[in-house]
């Protein structure tokens, strides 16, 4: 048995790949649900009902989709250039922390809302960028693999958040709970839907997906970052400035992850804690792969993950299946997606 590369992967296969991958993951997860003694069909019905069956469900699903689109984009732009940014989680947290720190400046709270929001968003993105530029610098200067350094920095970042919210940035009115001072009212993102948690961050995330799509498919930067990923040596030979391209990619990727954290704290929570992110950074990697690194596909993949997470919460209450089943399904879909992409690109010959 051998694998042979297809000359032109057909469009149908490229579209069928993620659908097949998700179905395969759902079947495996269905088996796990059945082993736990529940009916998988009923469980999936409850998941869909939980995610879409009510006004609250829909608004919660979309609220959850928002940070996932941004962390998914962060991973997608980096992976396209073969910059292995696994540090989305840390960038998310520091982005969120930056907003809270910025909000402590009295002048920010006194600004008109649009300006305060803009400044806080920029602060979050810039801090996310800086956290990724450090490991990229180590790679360019010393040849240190960024996979491990970005992973390790995630732990450092969360500890730093913990340090700040128990120290300099602790909210004195939180009855001793370790949480940061709240974001000033002027910097809170407006709600999209009354009496829900859905906020304008969703629109920002959607706009960013289009911006990233445009950057990648319509600009010199996009062409260069793809070339740097496909074949760095050939790209350098053709005159692509590799270092500068990677720095730009890192700014975009880290910035998006930092923005995700900033938006989450400005739109949902209002203050920073060390459980602000249920692994949004790591989920972003799965989402980017499920989308086959396509920015518009990221929106669909983020929605799928959000449906699983929100739906599994209500399903687990009804059937007493651990809600970790959502994590299992999403992680499984990453593995099945890798195989699906492979099958779309290769044919099996005997």
């Amino acid at each position: 048995m051998r694998f042979e590369r297809r000359d032109h992967p057909s469009r149908a296969l490229t579209i069928a790949a993620p659908i097949g991958a998700v179905l395969a993951a759902l079947i495996v997860a269905g088996l796990l649900i059945a082993i736990a003694g529940a009916n998988p069909i009923r469980a999936y019905g409850l998941i869909l009902k939980g995610a879409f069956g009510s006004r609250l469900g829909i608004s919660e699903t979309l609220t959850r989709t928002t940070p996932l689109i941004l962390t998914g984009l962060a991973a997608a732009v980096a992976f396209r250039a073969r910059l292995w940014n696994i540090g989305g989680e840390g960038q998310f947290y520091l982005g969120a922390l930056a907003v809270a720190a910025f909000g402590m400046i009295p002048a920010i709270g006194a600004l008109p809302a649009p300006l305060a929001i803009l400044l806080c968003l920029i602060a979050g993105a810039v801090v996310g960028m800086i956290l990724l530029l450090v490991p990229l610098g180590l790679r360019l200067k010393f040849g240190v693999d960024e996979v491990v350094t970005t992973l390790l920095l995630n732990f450092v970042a969360v500890l730093f958040v913990s340090l700040m919210i128990e120290g300099a940035m602790k909210d004195p009115l939180a009855f001793g709970w370790p949480q940061s001072v709240p974001v000033p009212e002027a910097a809170e993102l407006p709600k999209l839907l009354a009496r829900s948690r859905l906020h304008a961050g969703l629109l920002i995330a959607l706009v960013m997906a289009v911006v990233v799509w445009w950057l990648q498919s319509r600009t010199v930067f996009g062409m260069r970052s793809r070339a740097a990923g496909l074949n760095p040596r050939a790209a350098a030979f053709a005159g692509v400035p590799l270092g500068r391209t990677l720095i730009a990619v890192a700014c975009l990727s880290g910035g998006l992850a930092g923005l995700a954290g900033a938006i989450e704290v400005m739109g949902v929570k209002g203050y920073v804690t060390t459980d602000l992110s249920p692994n949004y950074g790591y989920s972003g990697i799965v989402i980017a792969m499920l989308a086959n690194l396509n920015p518009i596909g990221v929106i669909a993949a983020a929605l799928f993950s959000a449906v699983m997470f929100v739906g599994a919460d209500s399903m687990s209450r009804a059937l007493s299946i651990p809600s970790y089943i959502a994590d299992v399904t999403v992680a499984m879909s990453l593995l099945t997606m890798l195989v699906a992409i492979f099958l779309a690109q290769y044919r099996i010959r005997r």
Partner: protein, 313 residues
């Protein structure tokens, strides 16, 4: 100053070094095996989590402690097989597959754990490995309790370092493994199938990672809780670079690392006014520093991360 000397001269501190080092030794040996045969295994963090869970679950449901270790090794090998299947014959991205294995293995572990103990506010405990005093040797003052009063898996880990060093450098199999990591075409030309060799070696390495995880729940602590591996797997990946892909140096790296960890733990209690988070950051920052120091000297296995397809160059 005298505080530092007190810490450094205490038996407890040096005893802790070997205990903290054990999961790192096992994990680092596991990563080292995989990378020596040419495959990056970022599944380690999840495989260690699964090993920790399965080891604990086996003992919790009445199994022997060693059966728990064995179950963790088998579970690790199973996830290793999955990783190998995707990265070796299919040649998929080793980075992404490894991360996928980590995400899948850890969420699967949490799922199974929650099924086993649906409603426990505090994690249920098991009776862990007790220190095993080596006769005569453990009576030597200072050195005795530090080196010869450890739990059985710690001795096993130390023996495994020697076995692996001997196996990699003194046996034909070891030669074939190292060669596959350098030049799989040459191995194939010798009539050895690099595909199967890679699959087998990755499974063995992953079994070691699983055992490293089980040490956490069966010797270092006595219960399982989510996120307990705390990046130890990633630290092992960094330690392999520090070790320049050699088992002996891997032991050295793990011990050095464990020394700093044991030291900062004790320092936390005596140094006042420094937030504890700064101490907790140290292991991760130390790993990054080790990577920077060694990056220039690193002689990476030449075929690391390059999938092998017969007839393709």
């Amino acid at each position: 100053m005298s505080v530092l000397l007190d810490i450094l001269s205490s038996v407890g501190m040096w005893e802790a070094v070997l205990r903290i080092a054990t999961p790192l030794i096992l994990g680092t040996l596991g990563v080292l095996l995989c990378e020596r045969v040419g495959v990056l295994n970022l599944g380690i963090e999840g495989i260690m989590t699964f090993g920790a869970m399965v080891g604990w679950l086996t003992v919790y449901s009445g199994g022997d402690l060693w059966v728990g270790i064995l179950a963790a090794a088998a579970g690790g090998a199973a996830f290793g097989f999955l990783h190998a299947l995707l990265t070796v014959p299919l040649g998929l991205s080793q980075h992404v597959t490894g991360l996928g294995i980590t995400l899948f293995a850890s969420s699967f572990s949490y799922y199974v754990f929650r099924l086993a103990v649906p409603t426990a506010s505090s994690p249920p405990t098991v009776e862990p490995f007790r220190p095993l005093a080596v006769p005569v040797l453990s009576d030597i003052p200072f050195i005795g309790p530090v080196l010869f009063n450890q739990t059985a898996p710690t001795y096993m880990a130390l023996i495994l370092v020697a076995v692996l060093a001997w196996g990699l450098y003194r046996t034909p199999l070891g030669l074939a493994i190292r060669m596959t990591g350098e030049n799989p075409h040459a191995v194939d030309a010798q009539g050895i199938d690099p595909i199967w060799l890679r699959i087998g070696t990755i499974m063995a390495g992953s079994a070691l990672m699983g055992m490293g995880g089980a040490f956490l729940t069966l010797a270092a602590f006595n219960s399982f809780f989510p996120t307990m591996v705390q990046g130890r797997g990633w630290i092992c990946v960094a330690l392999v670079v520090f070790a320049l892909w050699r088992p002996g140096r891997a032991l050295l790296g793990a011990l050095l690392f464990a020394f700093f960890d044991a030291f900062q733990l004790r320092l936390q209690t005596v140094v006042e006014g420094v937030p504890y988070q700064l101490f907790l950051m140290l292991p991760y920052i130390l790993s990054i520093v080790a990577l920077i120091v060694m990056a220039r000297r690193a002689r990476v296995p030449q075929a690391l991360m390059q999938p092998y397809r017969r007839g393709e160059r």
